[in-house]
């Protein structure tokens, strides 16, 4: 595995991937982008409530992993969680319905934006406590090892979470037990509004893994090819029984931490400089250059996606709210649990 942030868009890299892979990436990443643009829009219209953290700019981090890993692998992430399930094949209508808090949502309206789950498609949420999903990811990986499967877990966290105590306990335990897990730090530069430079002396986040002797690599998170290659190589290492790998995806979010963050802690120039490396545009450029599709065909695809996202909103808006009686379901597996009622 490369120890350096790879040179994106090189001819050699592009040759590794087929037309189908490029088209899959483009369609999925564009789908994430349009879905999140719509999420932001309906949030602005106060049609959805609560917290809402958009993935715009980070699409390659999810798409490159899904294309590299295999069926049965387990995904877990924090609250910036609308995009992974799209790439994993979840019904986007049910993701949108979850944002709306509707009974048809993936989590029946009980989770909302931060707690999307789709276990059938390998997506284990959707967690709201910074770094809290990482010990759970280690548990998912432990179960795979215990059951003797060939599957692994990929556990995502942000750069802020990389400083959380339980994350380091998780690194240590996973390495000691050689658990099948890829730890991903999606380093978008800011823990809410606090830059990486202000949270620790160690700003090369992949180096955090080295203190556990964990193979740890920085990856250009704006390049879906590089994300795919890094995940593929990590998975090969892990499936050979050699234990976890830490990947630092260097990425960027175009929007604020959440919808309530005006992101005044960074300059317009900084945001623009990252947009020059936009992950969706990079894939588009390669597709056009290789002649995998025409500008017109891609435009049609975009229109199709936009329409489907509108359908998601329609579905969510027309879906019923959960019945108030539902507050007493899904709390316990025991069906007749005696809740304290006044």
């Amino acid at each position: 595995m490369s120890n350096q942030t790879a040179n994106t868009g090189s001819a050699a890299t592009e040759e590794r991937f087929s037309k189908e892979t490029y088209m899959w990436w483009y369609e999925n990443m564009l789908h994430m982008r349009r879905f999140e643009e719509m999420s932001g829009r309906v949030y602005g219209q106060q049609k959805i409530s609560g917290f809402c953290h958009l993935y715009i700019g980070q699409e390659a981090c999810a798409a490159g992993a899904v294309s590299a890993l295999k069926k049965g692998d387990k995904y877990i992430t924090a609250y910036r969680d609308h995009a992974h399930p799209i790439a994993l094949g979840s019904d986007p209508k049910r993701i949108m319905a979850e944002l709306y808090g509707k009974a048809t949502g993936l989590s029946k309206g009980k989770g909302g934006s931060m707690h999307i789950f789709d276990v059938e498609n390998g997506f284990y949420g959707g967690h709201g406590i910074v770094g809290g999903q990482i010990p759970l990811g280690v548990g998912l990986a432990f179960a795979e090892q215990y059951k003797g499967t060939d599957n692994l877990c990929i556990a995502y966290m942000g750069d802020g979470a990389a400083r959380q105590g339980a994350v380091h306990e998780a690194f240590n335990m996973a390495m000691t037990m050689k658990l099948p897990i890829i730890f991903v730090i999606e380093n978008n530069g800011y823990a809410m509004g606090t830059s990486v430079q202000r949270t620790s002396n160690v700003i090369e986040l992949y180096k955090l893994g080295e203190s556990y002797d964990m193979p740890s690599h920085p990856v250009d998170g704006m390049s879906v090819e590089e994300v795919h290659i890094a995940c593929e190589e990590a998975a090969e290492h892990i499936r050979a029984g050699k234990g976890p790998v830490l990947l630092e995806f260097r990425t960027y979010r175009y929007k604020g931490h959440s919808m309530s963050d005006p992101a005044k802690y960074r300059t317009k120039e900084e945001v623009e400089s990252y947009k020059q490396k936009d992950p969706v545009q990079q894939v588009k450029a390669t597709i056009l250059e290789k002649g995998y599709a025409t500008e017109e065909e891609l435009k049609e695809m975009d229109n199709r996606i936009k329409e489907s996202v509108k359908e998601c909103v329609k579905f969510a808006e027309e879906s019923p709210l959960p019945d108030p009686k539902e507050i007493f379901t899904d709390v316990y597996a025991q069906e007749d649990y005696p809740f304290v009622r006044e």
Binding site: L106, F117, V119, P135, Y146
Partner: protein, 254 residues
Amino acid sequence: MNGIRPIIEFMTFNFSLVAIDQIINSAAKLKSMSGGQVDVPIVFRGATGNAGQLAAQHSQNFENWYANTPGLKVVVPSNPKDAKGLLKSSIRDNDPVIFMESELMYGDKGEVPESEYLIPIGTANVVKEGTDITLCSFGKMMKVAIQAAEEMAKEGINVEVIDLRTVRPIDWATIITSVKKTNRLVVLEEAWPLASISSEIAFHVSKNAFDYLDAPVTRVVSEDVPVAYAKSLLEATVPNVEKTVKAIKEVLYR
């Protein structure tokens, strides 16, 4: 949530605070947040309460902390036979269970059937029937409760003793039935007073059996302070037979 059934041992529940985020924010919430997509059949077991002169950080009771959280079940056995039957039920349960033991009971001996048996979670046990007053407790404090009842018997007072066994859920029916019979209630627990299991029981009984009470519900709990090391300070802080007898007499207006 990934198809296995782990049993986590905390050396003591004092150390569970380091993992309380995983218990409260993850184990207790996953089923609900996922709209029922995952079950969390996990047991967290270990010792609770003071175990001699171990000072402030190793002498705490968190039964009420965990019992406050929907999504968890909290089991606190008081003797070897119950411990086996309740632990088996806890392990087989499909919800997360907090199973609280005591270092001071690990050396206890008692009859334990070799055969397979289960004691259901959420059922209290009337360990001694009585007519004059109900004394309700759980876990290690049950020894104190039984001794206090024996002391009272010497004075001709017939105490009904209830072992809750489980503090989430609480077997309200057994408590209420007993109070309707004895008309008086003392709750004994090792935790601090504010928002404890005894507070909850007192509230529940006052709401649901008020007309049956001949005296205010009272309780014996630890003093509202960190547990100090010195023997004299420890004894002054935690419940004992003497304090329990005093509370029983108070409720009987003796």
